[in-house]
Every structure is written in structure tokens, then in C-alpha cells.
Point group: C2
């Protein structure tokens, strides 16, 4: 879930690439002067669901980094050849073993500093026959008072849960957009501070 | 706007990659057995706007392939480091020289066969001081009867325009999702048909 390194070699011909602004462009790209390929890099969509059973919400405890052991909605990188809805269903099945009926698009939240767009759909669990997949330690349903706010893996997940609970309290579900800014840098440890002046 | 070729060389170390299912994964990836990098590929977001002045909609005539000479809403690939909204504003300025006040997210349309998700925001032109950018031949406002339906560059653009005009006629703007299937293959030309049986 982190930003990607710049390529050093051309994936088409294997020669070293050069970082420069191609003709007719206005930003630096990784260019191969051997075969002429320009290597564009774009943000990646992350797709998932808010699986609900009556008044409870399904969360997964992560069995992988980043945020091992933290709770999340089922979600992951969208794959080639699928739609956002298909990806959201696949991630829900893979991470939570859960079959859902997909509802409408619910949140689209930009996370520009990690080059991602997080997209969540509302979803209704079809049964309670769910189980953790390879990337989850545990999967369970939470009612509103039980949600482990201090143990939520990603801010887009916390934001989506807050929108959902607010909308449910009002009795009107909208579609929500947002953006997440980088966390402020942690203050340097005391020893570092004294060393740097 | 087409699908990407599989990498043949590792962009990290320059060695040849092998296409196989990595351990713990369930689909083929391009793997480098020299440095261990797995090269994931994901769909790309395309972001744009529906710029409106009173009852007219701004369209751009494309100066680039694909669909040279066809009309489109201003839109393009989302860049690293920006949000969907920032990308939509940037494309509107680059392709149409147009300054807009961005409105809400309006359509999110999957185009899985070209590995894209098209995202359009409603937008209000701030002035009529627009002009074609390097990727446009012409930029102009169209009222509903003038829209060149047979000359629209992309089906996601036509779909977005239809949603917009229907919503405007009803007086209620929603948020719309959809998916575009590949066009059916063109029937073979008569000579080809007679040759193949």
C-alpha cells in the first residue's frame, strides 16, 4: 500500500531509462532512449465493500503488512480485466470468505500521497457463513458501539465507516467523496533533537 | 487509451521477467527471479469534467489518437500525486484552456477491456475565455440539440452526456455508475468470409 519506486530499466527492452520531460509533455517520465517507450505511472484504484448484516458491519483483522493485526473493511487493489464492482466482490470473498449482494457506490476517497483512490460499495451479507481468507487473521461482525476505532488499519476505512454510521442514523444514504492528507511527521525523538541542535 | 503490453524485463534490475503465479497469490504476475520483484499491473483512472455554461456543454475535438477529430469531454489519465478532483481540473485546463468551479462526482464508468475507470465531475465554467490546448483541435459549447452524437470519441463520454441531459430534464442530478462492454468484433469482409469457408 506504499508508493512505487521509479523504474530504472525499460520493461520492454531492458535498457536503462532516463528521467526527463518527453516532447509535447509537461512532466518528467521514465523514458527509454533505446526503444522509445515512455513509462507512465498512474494512481491505482483500491476497491472494497461495507458488508452489513442487520445493524452489524463486517470487519477483517489483517494478517499482512502494512497494519498487521489492525481491522479493515474487505478491500484491495483492483485487478486488470475486472470492474470496480467485480473487484469489490472478489476482495470481499478473498479476505472475508463472504458472499454479498452489492449495493450502490458509497465512498470514493483520494489518497494522493500513496498514489491510490479508495472506492467502497455498500453490500448486504447473503449469509453468516464467512471465514478469514489468507490475508485475514479474523473476521467478525461489529455493532456500532463495538467498532475498534483505535485499531482501524486505514483512514479511508475509518472515514467510510463514519459516513455509513452517520447516514444510517439520519436514515438517508448518500454517496461521499473525500481526500486524505499525509499524517504530519512524527516529532524527532529527544536524542535526535538534541543532536541536531 | 489501449491496454498495456506485459513487461519483458524487470524495471528494477533489468533482468528478464517470468510470468507465473507467485507464492500465496492466485493469478499470474510478471516476476523477476533475479531481484525478487513482482510487477503488479492495475487499471488506470481517467478523470474529467462536464463543463457547463448556462444550458450549454463544453466539448473538445481531439487533436490526438485514438479518435482524432472526434468530440470529447475534457478528460485524461490521472497523474501521480494528484486527487481525482485535481486531475479533472488539470485536464479541463490543459485540453480546453477552461477554468471551472468543480461540482460533485457525477459518473464512474468501468471500461475493463481497456483496463480503465472513467470518472467525471460536474463543473461550472467560470468564464468563456477557453481555447484549445495542444491535444484539442477545437473547443466549443453545444446546446442539447447540437451535440454531435455520431462523432463522440468515447462511449463513457456519450453515457455521461446522456445521464446529464436526462437528469437536467428531470431537474434532479444523481451520481451514476456503469460499465462498458467491448464492441462486438466487426463481421469479416466478404473476401475474407469466402476465403475462410
Amino acid at each position: 500500500m506504499f508508493t512505487r519506486a521509479h523504474p530504472r530499466f525499460c520493461s520492454v527492452c531492458g535498457h536503462a531509462v532516463v528521467r526527463r520531460v518527453p516532447q509535447g509533455d509537461n512532466r518528467e517520465r521514465d523514458c527509454c532512449d533505446h526503444c522509445g517507450t515512455i513509462h507512465y505511472v498512474n494512481p491505482r484504484p483500491v476497491v472494497g465493500t461495507i458488508p452489513v448484516w442487520r445493524d452489524r458491519i463486517l470487519l477483517c483483522r489483517r494478517a499482512i503488512e502494512p497494519r498487521y493485526g489492525k481491522w479493515t473493511l474487505p478491500a484491495g487493489f483492483m485487478e486488470i480485466g475486472e470492474t470496480t464492482a467485480e473487484g469489490a466482490l472478489r476482495e470481499t470473498l478473498e479476505e472475508a470468505g463472504a458472499r454479498v449482494e452489492l449495493g450502490p457506490l458509497y465512498t470514493m476517497i483520494d489518497v494522493p500521497y500513496v498514489e491510490q483512490v479508495h472506492i467502497f460499495f455498500r453490500a448486504q451479507l447473503l449469509d453468516l457463513d464467512f471465514a478469514p481468507g489468507a490475508e485475514s487473521l479474523e473476521v467478525r461482525l461489529f455493532d456500532e458501539r463495538e467498532i475498534p476505532w483505535d485499531e482501524i488499519a486505514f483512514r479511508t476505512v475509518a472515514m467510510t465507516l463514519r459516513f455509513y454510521l452517520e447516514d444510517r442514523a439520519r436514515g438517508v444514504f448518500g454517496m461521499h467523496t473525500g481526500a486524505i492528507a499525509p499524517l504530519p511527521p512524527r516529532p524527532p525523538a529527544p536524542t535526535e533533537r538534541s543532536e541536531s541542535g
